[in-house]
């Protein structure tokens, strides 16, 4: 019989059926942290050509779970195993992170599928543990010996032969108090590592009995074997369950980082008085222990439930304690406290049950850099850069939570500095019950350069491709990331379709990004970006209305400098403000600078007396203006469908610096609302709700307005069903849209109606391009569509001409 501490009942921590490592086994190996699979992200940045991680590690999650399924049979008493349990959940969570996240490493796609959907995978995992198949695996190959005794006799354990391997045909639990056997669904069965059909030696059976006896669940427990005619034995465990006096109080304390209370052997020779003193001192010790312990996270509601349970049952039995333990642990695990476990029940036989929990307090947070081979090395990245991405909950002194770990993983991954990230909680050897959170990072190469080339063969004279007309084109780009380890970067790229004659269409960009403008320790998150750029776009202002055959296009080239500061409030909401200085050149089809738009005369000729393209009316404008943009975005995904609200206000304020001293205030306000029409349950694989999208956009300009800055109406992002700018180009515009999205299977179908109006301000654009190119200035459209992956296929009817057409578009309208 086990010696039971006066006030405490030690319940083995590894027995919960909610726990991964719940089964006993004869082997004493424990799962070490090293063999576990921590939270990992391996990212392959698309721009980084030399990444050596083409295949993300999570692709073999399925295999991991199998390994684990067999491992869990081992008897694990150490807390490290408990962390291991958490770890498994973490690593299965990774697939979640990546599924919803940045899509880093497209090659990993197949892997996620195998992962079985993160958290959800846990259930199947558990069923696997308890399925007999998992257990049979271990013993299958072993031979067993017949008991060699007459059938149907009861043999005591110590009478069994120590040399034989007995096959256990069935196991019965016999409750002596009730005088009946208990069913297999009873919680006691979970404490047992013996399984029907298993083969065990006498020593193993004895050990099993010992484990049961020392568990504190029983006052008395015996193991008998009943011989069967076929040589197998039936095992009967008869027990007397421990009970204590009824309690009407419940208390839960966090004893993490405190020395475990150890039952002190009572000296059998103690006198009554000594015993009493001893008990008293123990009682005092315990009271002190309770006082020193920290309050636990368990919410009052759960505590009240447990109290209810206590009151209902009357006496406190071992089974009741087990139930309480399960309940407490379940709450912790459901809330992500993977390392939490009930270690002890104290103060039994008083009015109060004290549940001692080790919650998994973080004693240390270590950031480690690894080289390509996985050896610890000195990193280039400064620690505060990583540290500021970690949730508060992962700091020293907090309780470890898986969700916080996942959050850390996501945050660090979004820095795009590391090819591999692991968040790995491991037990603190020096501090019992403590957790050290290790963050292991593999850095990406700092510098990268890329050259991509393409040859285009252009028709030469007479339409035939000639050797001289073969043009070498391509892109040269370079990137220097993570300067000074502070995530500053310089990137540049040059693209041309003809390297031999690059002045024709040279596109370049040079950008310097300086994050943590207010210092890396300052929680304010502002990023400075300066860039030097050029771009070439077809002006939608010089577009014909319906029935106008062809309007000679005008290209708008912009080249300049830009410097802005972005302050991120949340992941999506931000405020950007800065200065733009640019030179705008308008060109016609043949790249000649054109000061005015062209138009086709009814006679078929082309006259170049259309609306002026620039403010200066020379075809070249220079200007400097301030630009500010504030975005409020609280949208989120509910089962893959976007719901929430997005407001954007942008203003360009001319400074009166530049050609013709442009002074203007150009502003636009966009409001989009995604209204969820039905409450749905959230979770993987659940149907998304139907959504109504309401969208309004106002754009206006006071002051100098060159035609390239006029607001245009029509196009896939303005009024669908029209070409870009087909409705008009105006000084003030309004766009209204409504779209109803109905989920169908994995995608959704939608119906929409849109309207765009120039508010009569087309004439306030110099040269009135709307009228010159015979556009209406207002227009509506309606239609239906279906989303096919990234592509939207829609049929839209343009209300001005009354004709419909099918469009295929990439990306989202809103």
């Amino acid at each position: 019989m086990a010696s039971i501490a006066a006030h405490g009942l030690a319940i083995p921590v590894n027995r919960s059926h909610r726990r991964l490592n719940s089964a006993n086994t004869t082997s004493g190996t424990s799962v070490t942290a090293a063999s576990l699979h921590p939270l990992t992200i391996k990212s392959k940045l698309p721009t980084f050509s030399s990444s050596q991680n083409p295949k993300p590690s999570f692709s073999n999650t399925r295999d991991n779970s199998n390994i684990f399924a067999s491992k869990q049979l081992q008897n694990v008493v150490k807390t490290s195993a408990a962390i291991g349990a958490g770890l498994y959940a973490l690593s299965s969570g990774v697939s979640n992170v990546l599924l919803s996240g940045n899509g880093g490493g497209g090659s990993g796609g197949g892997g996620y599928g195998g992962g079985g959907g993160g958290g959800g995978g846990g259930d199947s995992f558990w069923s696997k543990i308890f399925s007999p198949a998992a257990i049979a695996g271990e013993e299958e190959s072993q031979e067993w010996d017949s008991h060699g005794l007459p059938a149907n006799i009861v043999v005591q354990l110590n009478k069994l032969s120590g040399f034989k391997k007995y096959k256990v045909s069935d196991i019965l639990f016999f409750d002596r108090r009730r005088g009946s056997t208990v069913g297999t669904e009873d919680s006691f069965f979970e404490m047992l590592s013996l399984r029907p059909g298993g083969v065990y030696t006498k020593a193993q059976l004895q050990k099993e009995l010992e484990t049961l006896a020392t568990s504190g669940m029983f006052e008395k427990v015996d193991l008998d074997a009943k011989t069967n005619p076929d040589g197998t034995v039936g095992v009967t465990i008869s027990f007397l369950e421990s009970t204590w006096q009824s309690a009407d109080k419940f208390r839960c304390i966090n004893v993490g980082l405190m020395p475990q209370s150890k039952p002190i052997e009572m000296d059998a020779d103690m006198t009554e008085k000594e015993k009493l003193e001893y008990f008293n001192s123990q009682e005092q010790d315990y009271r002190r222990r309770i006082e020193r312990s920290r309050p636990c996270l368990l919410p009052v509601s759960v505590q009240r439930e447990i109290l209810q349970l206590l009151r209902e049952k009357g006496t406190v039995s071992a089974r009741l304690l087990q139930k309480i333990r399960d309940k407490v642990q379940q709450w912790y695990h459901d809330n992500g406290y993977a390392c939490a476990q009930v270690v002890n029940f104290g103060n039994l036989n008083t009015k109060e049950v004290v549940c001692e929990v080790v919650e998994g307090d973080i004693t240390q947070m270590v950031i480690q850099f690894q080289d390509k081979l996985g050896n610890v090395c000195e990193g280039n990245t400064q620690y505060p850069v990583v540290r500021r991405e970690l949730p508060r909950q992962l700091r020293q002194g907090k309780v470890f939570n898986i969700e916080a770990g996942k959050q850390a993983l996501r945050n660090i991954n979004s820095l795009a500095l590391f090819s591999n990230i692991e968040v790995n909680p491991r037990p603190d050897e020096k501090n019992e019950g403590g957790i050290i959170v290790e963050i292991k990072l593999k850095e990406l190469e700092q510098k990268s350069a890329e050259v991509s080339t393409e040859w285009s063969i252009v028709p030469g004279r007479g339409g035939r491709p000639t050797l001289a007309s073969i043009q070498p084109g391509g892109t040269v780009s370079f990137e220097h990331r993570n300067l000074y380890g502070l995530n500053r970067s310089i990137l540049g790229s040059v693209t041309t379709s003809n390297f031999l004659n690059p002045q024709d269409d040279l596109a370049f960009k040079l950008e310097y990004v300086h994050p943590y403008l207010d210092g890396v320790y300052n929680p304010r998150n502002r990023t400075l970006r300066t860039s030097c750029f050029n771009s070439r776009k077809l002006s939608p202002v010089f577009t014909g209305g319906p029935g106008v055959d062809e309007v000679p296009p005008i290209w708008v080239d912009r080249a300049g400098l830009k410097a802005n500061i972005t302050e991120n409030f949340t992941r999506q909401s931000k405020f950007t403000y800065g200065l733009v200085m640019e030179e705008i050149t308008t060109r016609d089809e043949s790249s000649h600078i054109s000061a005015r738009g062209q138009r086709v005369l009814p006679s078929g000729g082309i006259s170049a007396d259309g609306p002026p393209t620039t403010l200066s009316e020379t075809g070249i404008d220079r200007m400097a203006f301030l630009q500010a943009n504030i975005t409020r975005d609280n949208t989120k995904f509910i089962n893959g469908t976007i719901v929430g609200e997005r407001n954007v206000f942008q203003v360009d304020q001319g400074l009166g610096v530049g050609t013709k001293f442009p002074f203007f205030n150009r502003h636009q306000l966009t409001m989009t609302q995604f209204i969820q029409l039905k409450q749905v349950e959230e979770g993987a694989g659940k149907a998304p709700p139907p959504v109504l999208v309401l969208h309004g956009h106002y754009g206006g300009c006071v002051g100098d307005l060159p035609s390239y800055d006029a607001f245009t109406l029509g196009g896939p992002y303005s009024v669908r069903g029209y070409n870009m700018g087909e409705i008009g180009a105006a000084r003030n515009i309004v766009e209204l849209a409504a779209e109803l999205r109905i989920p169908v299977r994995n995608t959704h179908v939608y119906a929409f109606a849109e309207h765009g109006n120039d508010l009569g301000t087309s004439k306030d654009v110099k040269g009135n391009p709307t009228e010159v190119y015979r556009r209406m200035g207002h227009g509506s459209s309606y239609g239906v569509g279906v989303k096919l992956g990234l592509v939207r296929a829609e049929y839209a009817v343009d209300h001005n001409s009354g004709t419909g057409a099918v469009f295929f578009r990439f990306g989202e309208r809103f």
Partner: protein, 301 residues
């Protein structure tokens, strides 16, 4: 073209004596009022008889006319002087091309008219066109947009091809009055003349018949079916319009380009910017703060 030599108004000689005396009387009246130059702008759709009307007034074939095609690719000013009095008539190309208002033609006219003063504006259309449509309104609107509403104070609606037999059941007078009323209505709409101003700015309507087969009266004057000699009548109306007291329209750069929309409201920009900052940006910032506060935090945070 502007430096065209001003020729002696010889054509006046070939008018019948009655017309001549009437014209001279009117010119004398203008001279009395210190008006020594008269510039008449003639505009309208293509092929309605603008050039023919010009020729009829001058009394000679000053501008080329053809029955079947446009002979006036660009504006032409015909100037004639008689006894110290100069008459300028500006003939213009038709404003309609391919069912649309020909902006290019309008631009040409505007450029041509730069720095000239228009004393009288003749809007020419046919009497024998039964209906008015949206195009008429657009033309009137285009003219108004280009030269301003003021031009209609000096405007005269001229209806050509006046010698016709009216549709069944209508007398000639009834038909002409209804046709002119319909056209005037469109003009008022297109020129955005408000109801209360109609009385003040009543636009006279003159009937014209340029054809050589025009009926003549006993003194050999071309007459309308109603019996009035139309040339003296037209000149009379023109003189009345000039003497009505309103000013001529000086076509300058500003008029052609209209009020520069780029300059409108420029002084308000600092206020607009302040408004945007305090009422829009601040407000959005506030709602972002609300969003952050309301954000559903995970249980562990």
């Amino acid at each position: 073209m502007a430096s065209q030599i001003i020729r002696e108004w010889a054509g006046i000689q070939q008018f019948p004596a009655a017309t001549q005396s009437k014209l001279l009387e009117l010119l004398g009246k203008l001279k009395q009022e210190n008006v020594s130059t008269l510039t008449i702008l003639v505009m309208g759709k293509g092929g309605v008889g603008k050039s023919s009307t010009v020729n009829s007034i001058i009394g000679e074939r000053a501008v080329a006319v053809s029955a079947f095609q446009s002979e006036t690719p660009r504006p032409v000013m015909v100037s004639r002087s008689r006894a110290g009095f100069t008459l300028n008539i500006i003939d213009t190309p038709g404003l309609v091309e391919g069912g649309y208002v020909n902006d290019q033609a309008l631009d040409l006219i505007k450029k041509f008219l730069l720095n000239k003063t228009i004393d009288v504006f003749l809007y020419v259309d046919r009497l024998d066109a039964y209906r008015v449509d949206n195009l008429d309104k657009q033309i009137v609107k285009a003219i108004t947009d280009s030269f301003g509403k003021e031009i209609w104070r000096r405007g005269i609606v001229v209806l050509t091809h006046a010698q016709l037999s009216p549709p069944d059941g209508l007398t000639y007078d009834e038909f002409t009055s209804r046709r002119s009323e319909a056209l005037l209505k469109i003009v008022r709409m297109g020129a955005r003349i408000r109801k209360q101003d109609i009385q003040a700015a009543s636009i006279p309507v003159v009937l014209v018949e340029n054809s050589g087969r025009c009926n003549k009266n006993e003194s050999d004057e071309k007459i309308l079916p109603s019996g009035t000699a139309w040339i003296p009548n037209l000149v009379q109306t023109i003189t009345d319009a000039v003497l009505s007291g309103s000013n001529g329209i000086l076509v300058d750069q500003k008029l052609i380009e209209g009020p520069n929309p780029n300059n409108r409201g420029k002084v308000l920009i600092p206020f607009i910017l302040a408004f945007q900052y305090f009422f829009i940006v601040k407000r959005i910032q506030k709602s972002i703060k609300n969003d952050i506060a309301r954000e559903s935090r995970p249980a562990w945070a």
